[in-house]
Each structure stands twice: as C-alpha cells, then as structure tokens.
Amino acid sequence: MKLLGLVYYWAFAIVLMIGFYAVIAKPNLIKKLIGLSIFQAAVFLLYITMGKVDGGTAPIFQDGVSVYSNPLPQVLILTAIVVGISTTALGLGIVVRIKEEYGSIEEHEIQEQDRQ
C-alpha cells in the first residue's frame, strides 16, 4: 500500500530523468527543448502530488466536508507553468534565429561552423 501511495513520486523521478536525458543526449535543439519541457513538467507533478490529501476535495467551504486538499502547491505550479511556457517560447525563438543564421539546428553542425 505504501509503495502504491508513492507511485506519483516514482513517476516524478522517472519523468524527470527522461526529460534530463533528452536535454543532455539529443543533439537537435528542438529535441533538447522538448526534453526541457518534460523535465519541468515532472516538477509540476511533484508539487501537485504533495498538495493532494487522501479523500480531500477542492478547498471550497461547504456542509458535510471536512477534508480539503492543499491549494497552495497548485497556485505555485500555475506560476511555474507560466515560467515554463515563457522559457520554451524564448528557447524556440532562439532556435528560429539560430536556424536563420546558421541554417541548421543540429548542435555539432553549429559548432562546426563556429570553429571556422
């Protein structure tokens, strides 16, 4: 039962590492950004999980309900999602500029051109 209760934390760790792997191992800049988004999404999962209370409902005051989930992590993660979107958007913007200037979005080809 305890292991099952932790399943979301395991998911967090696995998704985090998948994203991290893509960032490090993929030479394509777009794939790196996809990895970065997955990496950040894992952290969203961590925060949402910690706010959930077993059997709790939305924190709206009503009769007959006494267990509420913690809304604060969700609010925090809304902000973090906005940050993540801005980062991805800016990253994609930079990739577009790189493509314009270098004609490639493969890391080694760009390095090759800079070496000349």
């Binding site: 970065l36 973090a80 800016l90 390095q111």
Partner: protein, 497 residues
C-alpha cells in the same frame, strides 16, 4: 517621510519592473535609453538609501499587502542583501550611462526600446532575489532575471551569441528547476516557503532525509546558475558574444546574486538544521573553489579574445568567493562577501574599459589591439589600474579582499598554508594574463592602420574612470563594504549550532 522609507524594499523592485513596459513604448530616438537610465539611477538611489539605513544594524521588513508572515509574502533587507542591491543597481547604472555607443552599434534603433525594457526586467529580477524573503518568490525573480538576461545577451549582432545563449538557457533552466525541486521538498516537509519560518520548522521535521536531498538540489541548482566550476561552461561564450554594455552589467552582478542565494540557503536555512552540513559544505565546495581558481586562471593565460579572457578570470574569482565561504568562519565569510563587492568593481571597470576599446578597434583579439594605447591613452590607463585591482595590488579594492582571504586562510592551519600558496599562484597568473593585454595595447606593433582609432566618447570614458576611481577609493577607504561584509558574515554564522 518615514512612511516612504518603509516602502523602500518594495520600491526597489517595483521601480525597474514598472518602468520596463513604459520604456518599451518610448519610440523617439534616445528617449528609451534616457528613461531606462533614469529608472536605474532611481533604483541605485534606493539601494544607497537602504544601505545607509542598514549600516547601523537595523533591517527592513516589508509585508506585501499587510499580511503577516509566514502567511503573507515578506520582503526583507539586511546588510548582506543591501550589499548585493548596491552591486546590482550600481552595475546597471554604470553600464547604462556608458553603454550608448555599444548599444547603438549592436542593436537596431527600432528595437532599442525593447532591449532597454528587457534590461530593466533583468534588473528587477536580479534585485528581487536579494529583497525577497520567500523561496518561491525568489524562484520567480530568478526566472524573470534569467529570461530577460537571455534576451539582452542574444540581442547583439554577433550570431555566435545565439548558440551561447541557447546553452545558457538550457543550463539556467536546469539550475532553476533543481532549485524548485529543492524548495518543493522542503515545502513538503515543513509546509512553509518563508525562509525564516523554514529555518524554524526544519527543526521539527523528524526524518531529515528529504531536507538533505533538498539541500543537494538547491546547492547544485544554484551552483549551476552561479557558474561554479565545473558547471561554468555556459559563461565564457555568453559573456564574450553579448553586447559590451550587457557584459559590463551581467559580469559585475548576475553570478553574484546566485552565489548570494547559495550562501543564504546553505547558511541561513540548512546550516543550523542538518547535522554535519558545515563539514559537507566545506569538503564539497573547497576543492571546486581551488580547481576553479587554478584551471580558469590557467585557461585565461592562453586566451586570445580579451572578453573571453576576462570571462575565465570571472570564473576564477567565483572560486575565490566560494573558497572564503567554504571555511565556514567569520573571517572567511567576510573575505568572501567583501569580494562580491570588490570583484564587481574591478570586473565592471575592466569590462567598461573593454567597451571603450571596442568603440574604435576592429576586434577584441589581442592581435587587433596592438599599440592602441598611443591612440587611446585614457582608456589604456583605466584598463591598467582596473587590472591592478583585479590582481590585488595594494591601494586598490582587489587588495582588500585578497588580504581578508589570506588572513582567513591562515586561520585554517596547515591546510591554510597550501591555500595561501594557491592564492599566490593564482594572483601571479592574474598578473600574467593582465600583462598580456597591457603588453598588447602598449608595446605591440600595430597590426593594422591606427589612424582611424581615436579615444572613446567622453561619457564612456568618464564612467569608466568613475569606476576605476571607485576601485582606488574602496582600496584606501574600505569601511563601508567591510562593515557590510563583516556583519553579513556574522548574520550568516549565527545559525550555526
């Protein structure tokens, strides 16, 4: 009047942040720059006012919306954060005052309002980190400053800035996300985000393992942002290919804000709570600091581009700051915090001199700079004096931090002797790499026709010399930074068990 001074911590962030959208709308020539400079000057004045306010030992606390902490969001300024605010606003103001020619050369006039708006957002974010007393707000400010910095670094005309900034974006985001994971784990265990409240509640946590993991995530994440060796790979290219004015601004302050946060977290939140954290902190960071000092200085010895050379020297200087902190003593932390200030002065002045050189030289490689001192005597002299400060010649600001650092190292017994040797060797390396530039600009044969080369614009030279004279002034009368640094060190160590 008293009422207004109470609001200073909030104004410190709000002034540049709200000026940014206004600046963006100012299309006519030069207005955007003037408005951005005015906002930055105003922020500088606020930082000076708050430094005066905290010099007697008091602190500012500000509750957003009047909600009491830990439920509401709290802002706080003590002597350590005041020192950082002074560095950040000072660097921004100096860079903007001197930056006209550099920005005009690098950025189309139609895009300049956007550039200055991004600059102010970077400023607001960098100021928000020292002011905020809440871990999640710090994350948001960190991302504001990073995103805006990526924009202004990539804003120039050099295409090599783009891959550099992409690397910075990837590594910066990983660093910030690691920080966020750490904060999340602490929140999971304590249910609070307020730093002061966190420190109290970690005591109550039964199982310390998640806190230990959080400490690891936060330390590594911030070390990435602060370009601690070997996580520094994003820094040299980002500094080298950024527009010169941006390099002056960011090289003087951006990594220091992350280092500030690293020290704040490790000492303020973790040190008193995690058994053996001080020992782990020392043995983890001291080797990295020594490697940073030796390897980065070594790379600087062979670098041809002078911006890149100075960027590697910055990595070495980050090593000095960490080395002082890794002693976990009052003397060590004083040395390290005073070096925040003195390195900002020296590196700021050096990069200002570099942007003066860039106004009329064909390039910034050593071979491009042969003999320019004859044509640009004031710039060359400024470079030499600022270089003395970086090396740590007595009478300059750099000497003060080297002195404190060596004193602190000698307290460490036999290990200290070895560290002093490291410091002396690295200072000698600094002599060599600064000399390489001085040799090129004074004694080398001109490689190209110098008849077109003239002295930099007056305003730029005036600001550069103001920075150089500040190096001399704070080398002879270091009371203010030393007072701030000593008390910052004492505050940080109060939390040791």
């Amino acid at each position: 009047m008293t009422d207004l001074s109470h609001h200073l911590p909030a104004l410190q962030v709000i002034v540049p942040m709200l000026s940014a959208p206004l600046v963006m709308l100012l299309k006519p020539r030069g207005l955007a720059r003037a408005a951005a400079t005015a906002a930055s000057l105003f922020a500088f004045a606020i930082a000076i006012a708050m430094t005066m306010g905290v010099l007697d030992g008091s602190t500012y606390t500000y509750r957003m919306g009047g909600w009491p902490a830990p439920y509401g969001i709290e802002l706080g300024v003590d002597r350590f954060s005041a020192l950082l605010l002074l560095i950040v606003t000072g660097a921004s103001t100096f860079a903007l005052l001197a930056g006209r020619r550099s920005v005009d050369a690098d950025i189309d006039e139609s895009r300049q309002p956007l550039f200055y708006a991004a600059w102010l957002l970077a400023l607001a974010g960098l100021l928000g980190i020292p002011v905020a007393a809440d871990a999640f707000n710090i994350f948001v400010f960190m991302e504001i400053s990073s995103l805006a910095s990526y924009v202004i670094i990539a804003g120039g005309s050099d295409r090599r800035a783009l891959p550099a900034v992409f690397k910075y974006l990837i590594m910066g985001t990983i660093g910030a996300t690691f920080y966020l994971i750490g904060v999340g784990l602490i929140y999971l265990m304590t249910g609070t985000l307020n730093l002061a409240d966190m420190e109290l509640r970690i005591h109550e946590v039964g199982d310390q393992k998640p806190i230990l993991v959080a400490a690891g995530f936060i330390t590594i994440g911030l070390a990435l942002k602060a370009a601690v060796f070997p996580l520094h790979v994003w820094l040299p290219n980002a500094y080298t290919y950024a527009p010169n004015a941006v390099t002056v601004f960011l090289a003087a302050c951006s990594t220091k804000v992350s280092l500030y946060l690293l020290l704040r977290f490790d000492f303020f939140v973790f040190q008193g709570n995690l058994a053996g954290h001080d020992v782990q902190f020392t043995y983890f960071l001291m080797p990295l600091a020594v490697l940073a000092i030796l390897i980065a200085s070594g790379v600087a010895l062979f670098e041809q581009n002078i911006k890149r050379l100075l960027a590697y020297s910055s990595i070495a200087q980050i090593g000095y700051i960490l080395l002082g902190a890794s002693f976990v003593t009052v003397a060590g932390l004083t040395a390290s915090t005073v070096h925040f200030f003195n390195h900002a002065l020296a590196k700021g002045a050096l990069f200002l001199a570099v942007s003066c050189l860039a106004t009329s030289c064909v390039g910034l490689r050593l071979s491009d700079l042969g003999g320019v001192a004859k044509r640009m005597p004031w710039t060359a002299a400024a470079f030499v004096v600022a270089g003395f400060s970086l090396i740590g010649i007595p009478g300059t600001a750099g000497f003060i931090s080297k002195w404190y650092l060596i004193t602190a190292a000698l307290e460490q017994g036999s290990l200290g002797i070895a560290l002093v040797a490291v410091l002396v060797i690295s200072s000698l390396m600094a002599v060599v790499y600064i000399w390489r530039i001085v040799e090129a600009i004074y004694f080398a044969e001109p490689s190209s026709d110098l008849s077109a080369v003239g002295e930099a614009p007056f305003m730029m030279l005036a600001v550069t010399w103001a920075a150089v004279l500040a190096n001399l002034y704070f080398g002879l009368a270091p009371d203010v930074p030393v007072t701030l640094a000593t008390s910052a060190a004492e505050t940080l160590l109060e939390h040791l068990p």
